[in-house]
C-alpha cells in the first residue's frame, strides 16, 4: 500500500455521497454581492476547482469554507457537521475545522525548518513525538522533499516551498484540502509540472479537495469537477470535458479554451438539443447545423461558439454551410498552424493541420463541425 493511500485509508469518516455541502452562500461587502447565492457539493475524495477571473467570488467562497471569512447567508457543511450557518447562529472557528490549506504565497514560516513547518499541525494536535517524526518523514517522502527536511524555508525554491506547504496541509490527515491559487507564483514550466504532481498526490491520499484558480488549463488538468464562476455566481458546473465541449453560455465558452464567438439566431429546432442557427457577417448570412444549449428555442438570440480545432479550412467549397474567407495570418506552431481567416467583418480562429499548407492571402472555405458547433446563451 502506498504511503498516500495509507494516509487516506486511515480516514474513518463515513459520510458517503456529498461530503462538502455549500448551500445558498451569500457574502456581502457593503452593497457588493461578492458571493451571490452559490450552492454546490463535493463527493468524498473528489477534486473540485472553482474557476474564474479575479473578483468572481471564488476566493471568497474558499475562505468562507475555511472559516477565515464569515458569511451573510447560507450554510456550509463538511462531513455532515455544520461549519457555518449564520441563520442558526453557528460558526466553527477555523482552527477547529480540520482543514488543510495551501496558500498562494505558500506561507511557509521562515523561522522554522521544513520539518518543523510540517510537524506544526501535529504538535498542535498533541501527537506523540515519535509518531510526529514518522509521519513527517512519510509525507516529505510523498512530496519528494526528504532531502530538504532540515533546511530553512528561505533556502527553498518556489516549487519546493509549494511542496512543503502541501506536505504541511496533508500531514494531519484533514477531512478537506483547500488550495488558494497555489501555483500562480511559479514560472510556466514548473507550473505545468506541479499540476500533475499535485493531482497525483491528491489522488494517492484521497482527501476531498477544493481548488481555486483563474488558469483554465490548470482546472482542466487537475479537476474531477469544475465550477466556473463570474460576478459571484455560478455559471456552469461539470466535468472538464463537459465544460470544455458543452459550455452553457458565451462566458464559459470564452473562459475555457479558445473559441470563436459570433452573434446568431436560432432558426430551427430539429431534435432535442439540435437545430440550426443563422450567423451573419458583412458578407452574408449562413445557416449552420449546431447543438443547442439550454434555453435555446426557435427564434432565440444566441451566441455561436466553435473552437478553432473544430473549424475546417480547405481550398474546396464544401457546400451550403461553407463560409468563404481569406487567410490573413498563418503562424506555424510546430504541431499546428494558427490561422486567422477573415469572413466579412469577422475573424475566424482556425487550427489547421500543417500539411494543409495554408498561406496568407489564400481563399479558403470554412466548414464548422456540427457536433462541436454550439448555440448558447449570450
Amino acid at each position: 500500500m502506498s504511503v498516500g493511500s495509507a494516509i487516506g485509508a486511515m480516514d474513518n469518516k463515513n459520510a458517503a455521497g456529498h461530503y462538502v455541502e455549500v448551500e445558498g452562500l451569500v457574502k456581502l461587502y457593503g452593497n457588493d454581492r461578492a458571493v451571490d447565492d452559490v450552492s454546490f457539493s463535493v463527493p468524498k475524495g473528489k477534486f473540485l476547482t472553482l474557476l474564474g477571473p479575479s473578483g468572481c467570488g471564488k476566493t471568497t467562497t474558499l475562505m468562507s469554507i475555511a472559516g477565515l471569512h464569515t458569511i451573510d447567508a447560507g450554510q456550509i457543511r463538511v462531513g455532515g457537521v455544520v461549519y457555518t450557518a449564520p441563520a442558526e447562529g453557528l460558526f466553527l472557528p477555523p482552527e477547529k475545522r480540520d482543514i488543510g490549506m495551501v496558500f498562494q504565497s505558500y506561507a511557509i514560516w521562515p523561522h522554522m525548518t521544513v520539518a518543523e513547518n510540517v510537524a506544526y499541525p501535529l504538535e498542535i494536535r498533541k501527537v506523540a513525538r515519535a509518531e510526529i517524526d514518522a509521519r513527517v518523514a512519510d509525507v516529505l517522502k510523498l512530496v519528494g522533499l526528504s532531502q530538504m527536511a532540515s533546511k530553512l524555508a528561505t533556502q527553498l525554491s518556489g516549487g519546493q516551498q509549494q511542496r512543503a506547504a502541501l506536505a504541511r496541509a496533508i500531514v494531519p490527515r484533514p477531512r478537506l484540502l483547500l488550495f488558494d491559487e497555489p501555483l500562480s507564483n511559479l514560472d510556466l514550466k514548473l507550473r505545468e509540472q506541479m499540476r500533475v504532481e499535485l493531482k497525483r498526490i491528491q489522488h494517492e491520499v484521497g482527501i476531498t479537495s477544493i481548488y481555486v484558480t483563474h488558469d483554465q488549463a490548470e482546472a482542466l488538468v487537475m479537476s474531477d469537477e469544475i465550477i466556473v464562476m463570474s460576478k459571484g455566481r455560478i455559471e456552469q458546473k461539470g466535468g472538464p470535458r463537459e465544460i470544455y465541449a458543452r459550455p452553457v453560455n458565451a462566458y464559459v465558452s470564452n473562459f475555457i479554451g479558445v473559441a470563436n464567438l459570433l452573434k446568431g439566431r436560432v432558426t430551427a429546432v430539429t431534435a432535442p438539443g439540435r437545430g440550426e442557427v443563422e450567423i451573419a457577417a458583412a458578407g452574408g448570412a449562413v445557416q449552420v447545423p449546431c447543438l443547442l444549449g439550454k434555453g435555446m428555442a426557435a427564434g432565440a438570440d444566441a451566441v455561436v461558439s466553435v473552437r478553432p480545432e473544430n473549424v475546417e479550412a480547405s481550398r474546396q467549397n464544401g457546400g451550403a454551410a461553407a463560409l468563404e474567407g481569406e487567410v490573413i495570418q498563418a503562424i506555424f506552431l510546430g504541431n499546428c498552424v494558427d490561422c486567422r481567416v477573415r469572413w466579412g467583418d469577422f475573424e475566424w480562429k482556425v487550427m489547421a493541420h500543417p500539411r494543409a499548407g495554408l498561406k496568407t492571402g489564400e481563399k479558403v472555405y470554412l466548414r464548422l463541425d456540427p457536433e462541436h458547433t454550439l448555440a448558447v446563451l449570450p
Binding site: 450557518a85 488543510g100 504565497s105 506561507a107
Partner: protein
C-alpha cells in the same frame, strides 16, 4: 448548539454559537487592550480638557466653571510671549536640524565621502542622549562668563567679554537643533537609500547634469521624507522642556513648556491654567503629527521597491575631504565636545570657568553614585536604581501593549482599528509635561499615586507609540497568510501569536524595546511632575542637582547618565545589527 464529536485527527469539534464565537481569545485580548489604551490615553486627556474650563479663585483652593483660563492665554504678560518663543524655538530648531540632517544624509548615502560607513552610527548618537544634559554641557561650554570656551577665548585669543552665549533662545535653538538632527537624518537617509537608481539614470540619459538631476528628480522624491522629519522635529521641539528650562527660562525667555511647568509646580501654581495652555499647545502638535502620519508618511514609500540595491554614488573629487571634515565637525560639536565638558566640570569641586588641576577630584561621583557614602545625595543615588527599574519594566510592558495594538491595527478591519491607530498618534503629540499633569490629576486618589507605578503609567502612555511603530513596520512586511496558515493547521489565536507572529516580529520587538529603554532612561518631563522622595529618576536627580547643588555635581550625574545611554546604544548595535536603528 449542536455537538458532534469526531475522533479523527485528534481534534474535538463543536459547532459553536455566534455568541461564543464573539468570546474568542482574540476578541477578549483586543477588548482588554482597547480598554487599557483608552483608559491610559483618553482619561488623562479628558481630565485635562475638563480642568481647563475650571478657573481657580484667589484663595487657591476653589474653582468655578469658566473660560477665564483661555482668556488669560492672551491677556497675561508672559504667556503670549512664551507662545511666540516656542514658535521661534521650534522653527529655528527645525531649520538647523534639517540643515544638518539633510546634508549629513546626502553625504552618507549618496557621495563617496571617505569613511562614511564607519561614521554613520555616530551620526545618530545625539538622538539617544538627553537634550537636558546637552543643555547643561553647553551652558558650561559657552554660557556667558562661566563658559569654558569663552574663558579660553579670553585667555588665549585675547577676546574681550564673552565669545559665545548660549543662555538665551539662540542657545535653545542650537542645542535642540543639534540633538534632533538625527531625526531628520533618519527619515532622509532611508529615503535616499531606497531610491531606485533608474529614476535618476533615466534623467541623466536625457542629458540632465548632476545638479539638475539632484534638484529636479532626487529632491522631489525625498521631499516627503524631509517634510516628515521637519514636522517631527517641530513638534518635538515644541514639547521639549529640559533645554529651555536650563538655558532660557531662568534668564527671562519662557516657552510654553516651561510656563506649563511653572503653572504646575511653580510658585504661582495653577494647574487649571496649565491645562488650558496644554490644550492650546497640544491641539497644534497633534494636528501636525496627524497630518504627517495621514498624508505625508504614506507618500514617502513611492520609491520603495523592496529590492536592495546600491543607489547612485556621486564622486565629489577633492571636495570629499570637505564632506568628511563637515561630518567630523558635526560629531565633535554634537557629541565629543559636550561630553568632554561634562567630564572636565564634574572633576572640580566648584566650577569657576577654568581647569584647575590641583582641584581635580572624583568626589562628585562618589556623592552621586555611592549609596553608602556618608555625604551621598539620595535624589541622585535613588535616581539610578529607579530609572533602571522603570526603563526595564516600562519597555517590557509597553512592547507587549504595542504588540497587541499593532496586531489589532493591521490584522483586524473596521472602525476600531482606525480609531486605535489615531489614538496611538495622540500621546506623541502632547508634551510630556502635559500628559503627566493629566495623569497626576486623574490618578491622585488611587494607590499608585506617589509610587513608581504612576511614573510607569506616565511613561508607557506617552511613549508606547514608538514601540508600536517599530512593530508595525515589521508587521506590514509579514504576510497575513502566515498567520492564517497557522490557524488552518489547528492553532488557536493565542498559540499562533506565540509560535508564529511573535517570533517573526522579533527584530521589530527588540528594536522597539531598546528604543523605549533608552527613552525611559533619559526621560525628564513626566518624571519631574510625578516623583516623590524615593521615586526620583536619573533626570530628576540631574534636575535636583542643578537646582540645589552646583554645576559640578550636576555634570557628574549627567556624565553617568550619558555613559549609561551610550553603553545601551553600543550593546544594541552589536546585538541587532546595522539595519536595526529606526525611529
Amino acid at each position: 448548539m449542536s455537538t458532534q464529536t469526531l475522533a479523527d485527527g485528534g481534534l474535538e469539534q463543536q459547532a459553536v454559537s455566534r455568541w461564543r464565537s464573539l468570546v474568542t481569545q482574540e476578541s477578549v485580548a483586543t477588548i482588554v487592550v482597547s480598554v487599557i489604551v483608552a483608559a491610559a490615553v483618553i482619561l488623562p486627556l479628558f481630565v485635562l480638557v475638563v480642568s481647563s474650563f475650571r478657573v481657580l479663585d484667589s484663595g487657591g483652593f476653589d474653582t468655578t466653571w469658566g473660560l477665564d483660563n483661555y482668556r488669560t492665554l492672551y491677556t497675561d504678560r508672559v504667556i503670549p510671549k512664551a507662545f511666540l518663543n516656542t514658535l521661534a524655538v521650534s522653527a529655528g530648531s527645525t531649520v538647523l536640524a534639517t540643515f544638518f540632517g539633510v546634508s549629513l544624509a546626502w553625504i552618507n548615502a549618496r557621495t563617496n565621502c571617505p569613511g562614511r560607513d564607519r561614521l554613520e552610527p555616530f551620526n545618530l548618537i545625539p538622538f539617544f542622549l538627553s537634550p537636558f544634559v546637552g543643555a547643561i554641557a553647553w551652558h558650561n561650554l559657552a554660557g556667558g562668563k562661566t563658559g569654558l570656551l569663552n574663558s579660553w577665548a579670553r585667555d588665549y585669543l585675547g577676546v574681550h567679554g564673552n565669545l559665545l552665549n548660549v543662555d538665551n533662545l539662540l542657545g535653545v535653538i542650537w542645542v535642540t537643533g543639534i540633538f534632533f538632527a538625527p531625526l531628520v537624518y533618519l527619515f532622509v537617509v532611508g529615503s535616499l537609500r531606497r531610491m531606485d537608481p533608474s529614476l535618476e539614470d533615466s534623467a541623466r540619459t536625457t542629458g540632465a547634469g548632476l545638479l539638475r538631476t539632484a534638484t529636479t528628480i532626487t529632491l522631489p522624491l525625498v521631499a516627503p521624507g524631509i517634510l516628515s522629519g521637519m514636522i517631527i522635529v517641530f513638534v518635538t521641539s515644541a514639547g521639549e522642556f529640559g533645554v529651555p528650562f536650563k538655558l532660557s527660562a531662568p534668564y527671562g525667555w519662557q516657552t510654553l513648556t516651561t510656563q506649563i511647568f511653572s503653572k504646575a509646580v511653580g510658585d504661582d501654581a495653577n494647574l487649571y491654567l496649565g491645562a488650558a495652555m496644554s490644550m492650546a499647545l497640544g491641539i497644534i502638535t497633534v494636528l501636525l503629527i496627524w497630518i504627517q502620519q495621514a498624508y505625508i508618511a504614506p507618500r514617502s514609500f513611492t520609491t520603495v521597491t523592496g529590492k536592495g540595491f546600491r543607489p547612485n554614488v556621486i564622486d565629489l573629487g577633492g571636495w570629499k575631504w570637505l564632506a568628511l571634515a563637515f561630518n567630523v565637525t558635526f560629531l565633535l560639536i554634537a557629541v565629543v565636545l559636550p561630553i568632554l565638558c561634562l567630564l572636565v566640570v564634574s572633576l572640580h569641586p566648584v566650577w569657576q570657568a577654568e581647569i584647575i588641576p590641583k582641584d581635580l577630584t572624583l568626589h562628585n561621583y562618589v556623592r552621586t553614585l555611592d549609596f553608602w557614602a556618608p555625604d551621598h545625595i539620595s535624589a541622585a543615588t535613588n535616581g539610578i536604581v529607579n530609572s533602571f527599574i522603570l526603563a526595564f519594566l516600562g519597555a517590557t510592558i509597553a512592547m507587549i501593549l504595542s504588540l497587541v495594538v499593532s496586531y489589532m491595527i493591521h490584522r483586524t478591519k473596521g472602525f476600531g482599528a482606525r480609531l486605535l491607530d489615531f489614538l496611538c498618534v495622540v500621546p506623541v503629540g502632547f508634551p510630556g509635561i502635559v500628559l503627566a499633569m493629566g495623569v497626576l490629576v486623574t490618578y491622585i486618589k488611587t494607590p499608585i499615586y506617589a509610587t513608581l507605578w504612576i511614573i510607569l503609567l506616565g511613561y508607557i502612555t506617552r511613549f508606547f507609540p514608538y514601540g508600536q511603530r517599530n512593530i508595525s513596520s515589521v508587521m506590514l512586511a509579514i504576510s497575513e497568510e502566515l498567520d492564517q496558515s497557522s490557524r488552518m493547521a489547528g492553532a488557536s489565536w493565542f498559540t499562533t501569536l506565540r509560535r508564529i507572529t511573535i517570533p517573526l516580529l522579533k527584530p521589530g520587538i527588540f528594536a522597539g524595546w531598546v528604543l523605549l529603554f533608552i527613552i525611559f532612561l533619559r526621560e525628564l518631563s513626566i518624571s519631574i511632575i510625578l516623583y516623590t522622595s524615593g521615586t526620583e529618576t536619573l533626570s530628576v536627580g540631574v534636575y535636583y542637582l542643578t537646582n540645589y547643588e552646583n554645576e559640578t555635581l550636576t555634570s557628574a550625574l549627567s556624565m553617568t547618565q550619558t555613559v549609561m545611554l551610550l553603553v545601551c546604544v553600543y550593546i544594541f548595535r552589536r546585538v541587532a545589527g546595522r539595519e536595526a536603528l529606526t525611529a
